[in-house]
Amino acid sequence: MTLDWSVVWQYRGALLEGTLMTILLTVLTMLIAVPAGVMLALMRLSNSKPLSAVSACFVEFFRNLPLILVIYWAFYVMPVAIGVEFSAFTTGLAALCLNVSAYNSETFRAGINSIRKGQTEAAIAVGMSRWQAMSKVIIPQAWRRVLPILASTWVSLFKDTSLVSVIAVGELAHTALQIRSQTFRVLEMLTAMAAIYWLLGYPQAKLVDWIQRKYGVKE
């Protein structure tokens, strides 16, 4: 067995592009899935039964499906349902957003619910509307509790972007696997892929630990 690690260096450009694509997918997904999660949480907590039910169904559905299946499904359904040919990137992004919004919604809902009922009552007693109570009193307190969980979701998302490789989106996993196929340097490329993910993921995991220590609520 002869190993040729130079292939990793040779293809560093492509690997870098793949990495950037991974980061781009993560950032874009979070940019969409955080507001979407807030909206879903508020819908779920609202007094309107239909809004609450719609949100609950959406969240339960996407929390209870494997992401890889959602990706495949989106790939085939989206062009038919909406009639437009989407790029693999957009499809992958959509699937990731659906998935992460559902998780975020639960995170925000738990955060909001963790604030004592008395706080809402005190705000209402002074004459605030439910919306004012939420925005001035509840959410400012809840975001501290939400932050550690969002950080953890971010790291999971970063890893989950690897799954969109199955529909040929050019992120890191797909790029590495392509190079493997082209060069037949299996062990080298797979190890390099693992190593790059490790180099990116390890600091993120440690950052999450730090955030949890700093912002964690001791019950």
């Binding site: 209870n64 499906l65 359904v77 996993a173 693992a194 490790w198 993921g201």
Partner: protein
């Protein structure tokens, strides 16, 4: 657009077989990763200091690398490194176990560390040994506290088995993919697959929640 369910109906046995593989792989993974994860956590909390560094490194590594990468590396790279052929199912079992055991280890550790020190002191005051305290006082309470998180491990495992499709494990996801490709009716097939997974996964977390609510009082101190 007309809906054609015949590909699903025609291959129902094939798909059912895939479902069986999914469930088998999930159950085996949960069992193995629980044992491994608990062992790691106990070694980390109660074991010698020199063991802590490599264990923490292992846990953090599994937190940093995607499941897909672990699966692919196990299936393709291990045979090259060690010279034997790894059948897809077993490669998936090893990879998933290694990955999920890290999460189990963290859950067990958190459960153990959440038991109030007063409980340990109470045990010592009665004259129990360290091992007895761990077995009789800490672990029973910690186990109850871990239940909700454990439910999510079950759920995550079943979802992760679907990723094993990329290394051609003949589980439900892979077989759905095959039927979808052959039948030119991917929408029906994948929608059906989604419903099946939902029907399996939705009750899992609910049941664990319900069970936890029954026994939660046993873990409160």
């Amino acid at each position: 657009m007309e809906i054609d369910l015949s590909p699903i109906l025609d291959s129902w046995q094939y798909l059912l077989g895939g479902l069986g593989v999914t469930l088998l792989l999930s159950v085996l993974t949960v069992i193995c990763s629980t044992i491994l994860g608990a062992a790691i956590a106990l070694a980390r909390v109660y074991g010698p200091a020199w063991l802590r560094v490599p264990l923490v490194f292992y846990i953090d590594t599994m937190r940093a690398i995607p499941v897909l990468v672990v699966l692919v590396w196990t299936y393709f790279a291990v045979p090259i490194l060690f010279g034997f052929n790894f059948p897809p199912f077993w490669a998936a079992l090893v990879a998933l176990t290694a990955h999920i055991a890290a999460y189990v280890a963290e859950i067990v550790r958190a459960g153990i560390e959440s038991i109030r020190p007063g409980q340990i002191r109470a045990g010592l005051a009665i004259g129990m040994s360290q091992a007895q305290i761990v077995r009789k006082i800490i672990l029973p309470q910690a186990t109850v506290r871990m239940l909700p998180a454990f439910g999510s491990i079950l759920s995550i495992t079943i979802k992760d088995t679907a990723i094993a499709a990329v290394i051609a494990v003949p589980e439900f996801m892979k077989r759905s993919e095959t039927i979808a490709g052959q039948s030119y009716h991917p929408i029906e097939v994948f929608t059906f697959a989604m419903l099946v997974y939902f029907v399996i996964l939705f009750p899992v977390t609910r049941l664990v929640d319900m069970f936890y609510r029954r026994v939660a009082h046993l873990g409160r101190s």
